[in-house]
């Protein structure tokens, strides 16, 4: 049964069934073992493998392997393994079954060879992942999960509509280059865009990720958005619109991140900022830019996972995640602090850390292709990401003012998972050759030339200097217990309130109308009643003789009619 063309999602779906019927250490061992075996299996699958079948007259390709999808296949296995190690201490069947199902759906989506298969896994991604939010088991998480599910399923429905129109136009369901041409492809673009957190469509991520469980967010941050990035890289490379969308995505979230108090929400904003770099690279569309986008997705899954893990560890041991409630944790969690700093250095793209070797490709490509304003925006975003993710996250959690919290390090398995990620961050940063050999194009790019290294180091150190200066001058905005309005205000406040107001208007109109009709009826009844009062018309007593006379008159009219109209 086991063959080289066994689709990659099958082992993960099987292992989730096994996880349902086992528990404790056995469950953990099975999860780790099967995911590792599945990864080794995938390593041996050559590019070009595919499976085709005929379904209801459609030629479908549920499994298709090429260099681009293989790269995402590897990183999704790594992310699933790290996530499972990180959550080994969790005793919650709901999460431990949902997580491999979710990872399997992501693998199914990236190895889909046609749009219909993609749609199926696209929806499965939504349905399986929402349990990682609901597993928090608070009312707030439940509400956030519902909102998340609505947005994600809507994206799937738009995808389905788009692919039907697209099929009608082109007669092909192939999940390859699509390009913006016609309403069908625009729908597909929009569906991808919702999952990729395009500006104004981004709020589902910052709304739901901070509400998920500490371990759940680690899985969530790895898969959904990266599947969307993959889909855009496959279907819309070189679409110029994406350059500007990506550049916007790198810039606007950093402002929100600076004033946000919930540190996992800061990371969610920073994730949108990092996806912006990838989208921008896909939009530029040259070999170097697409390589940059794809490798940045690869690295982002690791370092963003590491940052979410370190903040998850803080939440796990302290029960707090707001910057205003934390601080001084380096005293009791020095290992977590160090690992968090490695993640922070990687996301900030310090030379010798993984972010540097991928982000610089996108920046170079933007400059080479003449997108100078975009390049300036990306440069600003690079400084900004260091500011809010590189400094703010470790500073407010582990340093800053001492919150007085004295806790212990998180469980060992959490530390192991974070250590693996940290080692990967540094290894990729120091030896980028391994990562580059996996890339879809061979560009011979070398990130470590003096110009790049000096420029990036200058940007970062002077950003740090700006942070210090603002802090010493007291200009830095303090962490405050607060909510910052974002696009979600429209559907969490404006729509409900507008609906409430319009319904109360409709109800008041309705009540007025009813009372008027009732009043009229009342008047009519009163009239009828008055008719029967003593002395009024209906209460008069008439003699029998009257009746006889009226009958005689009626008979006379009847006879006259009969005689006048004989035929």
């Amino acid at each position: 049964m086991w063959a080289i063309d066994t689709p990659a999602f099958i082992p993960l779906f099987l292992v989730s069934v096994l996880a349902l019927f086992t528990k404790g250490n056995l469950r953990g061992a099975i999860l780790l073992g099967v995911i590792a075996l599945s990864g080794i299996h995938l390593w041996n699958v050559p590019a070009g493998t595919s499976v085709s079948l005929s379904f209801l007259g459609y030629e479908l390709t549920p499994y298709k392997v090429d260099k681009l999808s293989l790269m995402f296949g590897y990183i999704f296995h790594i992310a699933a393994l790290i996530g499972v190690i990180y959550s080994l201490h969790v005793k919650d069947t709901m999460q431990q079954v949902a997580a491999p199902l979710y990872a399997g759906s992501a693998l199914g989506a990236i190895f889909a060879g046609d749009l219909l298969t993609l749609f199926v896994f696209w929806e499965l991604l939504a349905i399986t992942s929402v349990f990682l939010i609901w597993a928090r088991r608070t009312e707030r998480a439940y509400q956030a999960g519902i909102r998340y599910l609505i947005v994600q399923v809507m994206s799937g429905v738009i995808l389905l509509g788009g692919l039907i129109i697209y099929y009608g136009k082109t007669g092909s369901l192939d999940f390859g280059y699509i390009g913006l041409d016609g309403i069908g492809s625009w729908c597909i673009f929009l569906a991808f865009g919702i999952k990729a957190c395009f500006p104004l469509l981004h709020n589902w991520a910052t709304d739901s990720y901070p509400e998920a469980t500490p371990t759940g967010t680690v899985f969530l941050s790895a898969f959904t958005t990266k599947v969307a990035v993959y889909a855009l890289a496959r279907s819309f490379p070189g679409t110029e619109l994406l350059v500007f969308i990506g550049a916007t995505m790198t810039c606007f979230p950093i402002f929100f991140a600076v004033i946000e108090n919930d540190l996992r929400r800061v990371l969610a904003y920073s994730m949108i900022n990092q996806i912006g770099f990838m989208i921008c690279g896909i939009g530029i569309g040259t070999a170097l830019a697409v390589n940059g986008a794809v490798s940045h997705a690869f690295n982002d899954i690791i370092f963003k996972g590491l940052l979410f893990m370190s903040m998850g560890a803080v939440l796990h041991v302290t029960g707090r995640i707001n910057g205003s409630d934390l601080g001084g944790l380096y005293k009791s969690m020095p290992k977590t602090a160090m690992l968090c700093i490695v993640g922070a250095a990687s996301i900030s793209a310090f030379p010798l850390f993984s972010g540097f070797v991928s982000k610089s490709m996108v920046m170079s490509a933007a400059l080479q292709e003449g997108y100078h304003w975009v390049w300036l925006m990306l440069l600003f975003a690079s400084a900004g990401v260091f500011h809010h993710a590189g400094i703010k996250i470790p500073y407010f959690a582990f340093f800053a003012h001492d919150s007085g919290l004295r806790v212990s390090e998180p469980p060992k398995n959490m530390l192991v998972a974070m250590t693996i990620s940290a080692i990967l961050c540094i290894t990729i940063g120091v030896y980028p050759g391994w990562l580059y050999s996996l890339l879809p194009f061979d560009t011979g790019y070398n990130p470590y030339d003096a110009t790049h290294v000096l420029a990036q180091t200058q940007i970062l150190f002077f950003s740090a200097l700006a942070f210090v200066w603002l802090n010493l001058r007291g200009l830095y905005p303090p962490e405050l217990h607060s909510v910052n309005l974002d696009v979600e205000w429209i559907y969490r406040r404006f729509f409900p309130q507008t609906l409430k107001a319009s319904f109360s208007w409709i109800w008041s109109q309705d009540a007025m109308l009813r009372s008027r009709v009732l009043e009229q009826l009342d008047n009519f009844y009163n009239y009828l009643a008055r008719c029967h009062y003593p002395g009024s018309k209906a209460s008069q007593v008439r003699p029998t003789g009257n009746m006889v006379m009226w009958v005689a008159i009626l008979l006379a009219i009847y006879m006259w009619l009969l005689l006048s109209f004989v035929n």
């Binding site: 009312e139 707030r140 004033i259 707090r320 380096y330 340093f399 150190f461 700006a466 905005p477």
Partner: protein, 98 residues
């Protein structure tokens, strides 16, 4: 009650040392601009200390604009909860309310 162990940054001198190290690095990086020859693509890259100034000014602008955004974006923490949750749920489980 035993006094707590003195930690690295409890001593203000150590904080000061980190800051001096940062100032030193910034100075060295700025000077390296004159030493290392870059290959330029964008004309602005040739300006003296372009990256250093851009990084510094960019971050200051970022923080000041974000701070200004607070004036019209910031609401109290229970802003959505009051309409979406039962009153008893407002603390939202594991969140710590104050």
């Amino acid at each position: 009650m035993a006094t707590e162990k003195q930690h690295l940054f409890d001593n203000p001198k150590n904080v000061q040392r980190v800051l001096y190290l940062l100032y030193f690095c910034c100075t060295v990086l700025f000077i390296l601009d004159f030493v290392i020859h870059r290959h330029l693509v964008h004309p602005w890259e040739g300006l003296l200390g372009f990256y250093a100034v851009y990084g510094f000014v960019g971050c200051v602008v970022l923080v000041l604009v974000a701070k200004w955004m607070r004036t019209f974006l910031m609401r109290e923490e229970s802003y959505y909860d009051r309409t979406e949750l039962d009153p008893k749920e407002i603390d939202g489980g594991e969140h710590v309310g104050h």
